[in-house]
């Protein structure tokens, strides 16, 4: 390298640097400049498209890679990681505290990008570095450029523009809009809150014609809680899709690979109106859409349908059924005789593990911890006791009393986020926290199809608000909270999920093996490379 670079944060210095560079490197840099300009133009065009279009998840993944501790690895120019700094800087994140962190990340990214540019200028790998280098100075002065990373609609409920957009989209797809209910606690006013008394089928015609009947049935079952639990929801979703595919017929002049995907979009909107989609459902939908678009155009319709049905069956078989077998095998190694295992709520996977362990003659007893208002632990208790396992049942308020007896904690997960956080039923983080305080090992069991490329460090940003009327209880004929809506200063909050930091989790048992929490992004990257 024939010159050293002193990195200074201010924009003017950056420009100065560039001028200096230009003077020093002469011809080479002008070629670079040209390429840089070309890249800028491409970036502009891409950002304009981003305003309207592509899935938000991609952006968040890139956002994630900026914030993740493993920065150098993810900043390698070969990937699309380059637009990250632009998006990171220009996005209007609702959490103000993230801004200084991001600009630091920006600065580091800038510096690295510039170093990369120099190193790479001779090797010809200019794309990534130049993009970031060129867009860096562009981005910082224009932080308010409309190059906004798109936040998902379901966490922008307090933004009227987003609501209008959603309403228009639903109208176009002929999906009824479900209205929010009741007063929302201010910290969560950006999330939807629906009431079970206003079902999503109020405006759907009977018989359902726009939306396939099995999807209507599924949506109802979601909104009433008849199908609850990450695995159950995914399996039911795939089953409904199988029926949709069965009844589908390609209209003339259309290709199955494109038309079927378009047909599925209103169904997915309807389902997310009934209940926000889970991470596992999102991954399943992505898989299906990919499979559908990979159908070759010369394939006949019957053959295509048969192939899709098989794909769905094999997905369920591999990712859910076989995965749970594999996880139980690993988990059973961790269960020794005389163990006292604590479980929380009703996780289908954890119940399966415990039942298998019991069948393999391990001697252990279980403590089931439960919490209001769902009281799912009762169902877990029923299944375990039916099997013959000795169980104790407590409410979460008795957790610190019962923990001294416990030797291990097994938790299920709704999703595992890319920064190692575990998203699970509300209360899980408390269990993990108290278990850590008592030095009890916490093991999270999660299939890999629930791994999600999102990043969250708190439970506020993206969560689900359940029906607030579930919190109302009638004792001795008296319902004190009956008229809670008339009290202006009272709000009922019924959270569904929370996130547990990886420091409290000792091990994650997946079908790929037993990994620490921080290896989640590695698994995600391996999966992406596979696909």
């Amino acid at each position: 390298m024939h010159h050293s670079i002193i990195v200074r944060v201010k924009e003017e210095d950056v420009k100065l640097q560039e001028v200096v560079q230009a003077k020093c490197e002469g011809k080479e840099l002008t070629k670079e400049e040209k390429q840089r300009l070309r890249k800028e133009k491409k970036q502009h065009k891409k950002n304009k498209k981003d305003d309207r279009g592509p899935p938000e998840k991609e952006k968040e993944k890139e956002k994630a890679s900026v914030l993740a501790p493993s920065k150098p690895a993810t900043q390698s120019p070969a990937h699309k990681a380059a637009p990250v700094p632009v998006n990171a800087s220009a996005s209007e994140s609702p959490v103000a505290a993230e801004k200084p962190a991001k600009s630091k990340a920006e600065q580091r990214a800038e510096r690295r990008a510039r170093q990369d540019t120099e190193r790479a200028s001779k090797q010809g790998k200019k794309e990534g570095g130049q993009q970031s280098a060129s867009s860096k100075p562009k981005a910082t002065p224009n932080e308010l450029q409309p190059v906004v990373k798109r936040l998902p609609e379901h966490i922008q409920v307090d933004d009227p523009a987003a609501l209008k957009k959603l309403a228009k989209k639903l109208e176009r797809q002929q999906v009824p809009l479900r209205s929010d209910y009741g007063y929302k606690v201010s910290l969560f006013s950006h999330l939807h809150q629906y009431s079970r008394k206003n079902p999503p089928t109020q405006q759907i015609s009977i018989p359902a014609t726009v939306i396939h009947p099995s999807i209507v049935r599924l949506g109802l079952q979601y909104s009433q809680g008849i199908i609850a639990g990450s695995n159950a929801r995914s399996v039911a979703l795939l089953h409904a899709f199988k029926q949709v595919i069965q009844d589908y017929s390609t209209p003339p002049n259309e290709e199955l690979s494109r038309d079927l995907v378009n047909k599925l979009s209103p169904y997915i909107s309807f389902l997310s109106q009934c209940r926000p989609l889970s991470a596992s459902m999102g991954n399943a939908i992505k898989y299906i859409k990919k499979e559908i678009s990979n159908i070759p155009s010369q394939c006949k319709e019957e053959e295509a349908k048969r192939r899709l049905q098989e794909c769905i069956d094999s997905y369920i078989n591999e990712k859910i059924i076989l995965a749970s077998e594999a996880i139980s095998k690993y988990a059973i190694e961790k269960i020794s005789d005389g163990d006292v295992i604590l479980v929380y709520g009703c996780s289908s996977l954890v119940n399966h593990i415990l039942c298998e362990a019991f069948e393999k003659q391990r001697k252990f007893r279980v403590i089931v911890v439960d919490s209001r208002p769902r009281l799912e632990g009762r169902e877990a208790l029923r299944r375990l006791v039916k099997k013959g396992i000795r169980c104790t049942y407590v409410l979460i308020s008795a957790l610190s009393y019962i923990l001294p007896e416990v030797s291990k904690v097994f938790l299920g997960a709704h999703a595992l986020l890319a920064n190692g956080y575990v998203m699970s039923r509300v209360g899980t983080s408390q269990i993990a926290l108290v278990a850590k305080a008592y030095n009890v090992p916490v093991l999270v069991c999660c299939e890999t199809y629930k791994f999600c490329e999102r990043v969250q460090t708190d439970s506020f940003e993206s969560n689900e608000l359940d029906d607030p009327d579930d919190l109302i209880v009638t004792r001795n004929g008296k319902t004190h909270l009956e008229n809670w809506q008339t009290v202006k200063s009272l709000g009922l909050l019924n959270l569904v999920y929370d996130v547990t930091p990886p420091d409290f989790v000792d091990l994650v048992i997946t079908d790929l093996g037993m990994i620490p929490c921080t290896s989640v992004p590695v698994v995600l990257r391996v999966k992406n490379v596979d696909q």
């Binding site: 009977i206 209507v216 049935r217 199908i227 609850a228 159950a232 039911a236 199988k242 009762r378 169902e379």
Partner: protein
């Protein structure tokens, strides 16, 4: 297709023969619209497009069913005499969400306040009551029997009590005769000609079958049923519905942490495949126009709900007449001077001459009322002629009858002699 509608227009109106001996029940005017308009309107409002009507020969029993088609979808059976403003999705949602075999609508019975013509003595309360047993949620139908079928008393099977220890038994309910039935039930009906009435036989049978052992243990030697063949056919049809699709549904249900009851060790729905649900309307309007009292009540209430002008634009109403605000006048009527019409319905093409006072009455189509009549609380059927100066209080004048002038009738049913012969 998710659901097909079947409108039962077959019933002969056996409980109001005085009204229907000349006019088929679906065409009786209520609020100046034929009775069948109301269920059709309900179905259309909700989104049904093609409908099937079933009209069979005049069977004077309870509503009979003759399904001439083998349906490929689930069906929604509606009776032609149902007038209701129920949110239909409530009934259908139960059918969809729980994958139910039967889902029906019931409503609280309203007492009829109007005096019914021709009624002698007080109304006999408690005749033919329905006993309906529901579980704690009020949605699952556990028991249904009519008083007429119970000889000594109400008998509850132990298997029901073991599965649902808390059951609420209600008696003040009106069956709206609106049923969502699964396709397998329709097939069962087609193969079992012995079942003639939905309300009387099929529904109680299905409700009982929820808890019968044969379904769960696949053992066809249950002998408490009426007909071995019947039960076999049903049993076979149950087997038809379990297929590979069910395996996935079963998996989803296993992984789901939901149960419809708690306190015992069984899974959701106690593992039963046959489920019956009921939606009980607390508020709102629901009438079944199958008795004279109901007919009168419906005529009173229904016109208020629709936004039609009370006086049809083609009716000729003279200025010196007094038409009350809660009366409706049908098309092509002629109301002459000095008539006073209060709280009444006047049908199509009726002619009302001068100085007539009509209060609280129902005048059907094509009726002629001569001058000076005084009609109170009566029902005058199609094409009747009331001679001048007649004074009718709480009478029912049958179709096509002529009342002589200066007649004074109170609390009578005036029908033709040919009708009296019909049994």
């Amino acid at each position: 297709m998710e659901l097909q509608a079947v409108l039962m227009a077959a019933g002969g109106g056996s409980r109001m023969m005085d009204l229907t001996y000349n006019t088929p029940k679906p065409l009786l005017p209520v609020g100046n619209r034929p009775l069948i308009w109301y269920p059709l309107n309900l179905l259309e409002r909700v989104g049904f497009e093609g409908k099937h009507s079933v009209i069979s020969e005049n069977k004077p029993s309870k509503v009979s069913l003759k399904v001439k088609m083998i349906s490929t979808t689930d069906i929604l059976v509606v009776s032609c005499d149902l007038i209701t403003d129920v949110a239909l999705h409530e009934v259908v949602d139960l059918f969809r969400a729980h994958n139910a075999t039967l889902s029906m609508l019931m409503s609280k019975v309203h007492e009829f306040t109007e005096t019914v013509p021709g009624q002698k003595g007080k109304k006999k309360a408690g005749e033919q009551r329905d006993f309906v047993g529901v579980d704690v949620t009020g949605k699952r139908l556990l028991f249904m029997a009519n008083e007429a079928d119970l000889e000594e008393g109400l008998v509850l099977r132990k298997s029901i009590m073991r599965k649902h220890p808390r059951m609420l038994i209600k008696t003040g309910l009106l069956d709206a005769h609106l049923y969502c039935l699964k396709r397998s039930v329709v097939d069962f009906l087609v193969h079992n000609k012995s079942v003639t009435s939905i309300r009387g036989e099929l529904v109680p049978y299905l409700v009982r079958k929820q808890f019968s052992k044969s379904l769960n243990s696949k053992n066809a030697t249950e002998d408490t049923e009426k007909n071995q063949k019947q039960q076999d056919a049903h049993h076979n049809l149950e087997l038809l519905s379990t297929s590979k699709e069910e395996a996935l549904l079963q998996l989803a249900r296993e992984r789901s942490c939901w149960n419809d009851h708690r306190g015992d060790m069984s899974e959701a729905y106690h593992g039963g495949k046959l489920r019956c649900y009921v939606h009980i309307m607390e508020e709102g309007m629901c009438y079944r126009v199958n008795t004279l009292a109901a007919y009168i009540e419906a005529n009173r209430v229904v016109p208020k709900l629709f936004e039609d002008p009370p006086i049809h634009p083609t009716a000729v109403v003279s200025e010196r007449s007094l038409v009350g605000s809660d009366s409706i006048i049908g098309p092509i009527c002629q109301i002459s001077e000095k008539t006073s019409i209060k709280r009444s319905n006047v049908g199509t093409s009726s002619t009302i001459k001068e100085k007539v006072k009509i209060t609280n009455s129902i005048i059907m189509n094509g009726v002629t009322i001569e001058e000076g009549c005084n009609i109170q609380g009566s029902v005058i059927c199609n094409n009747a002629v009331i001679g001048r100066g007649a004074d009718m209080k709480y009478c029912l004048v049958g179709s096509g009858q002529r009342i002589e002038p200066e007649a004074e009738r109170t609390n009578e049913v005036i029908v033709g002699s040919d009708q009296l012969m019909e049994i």
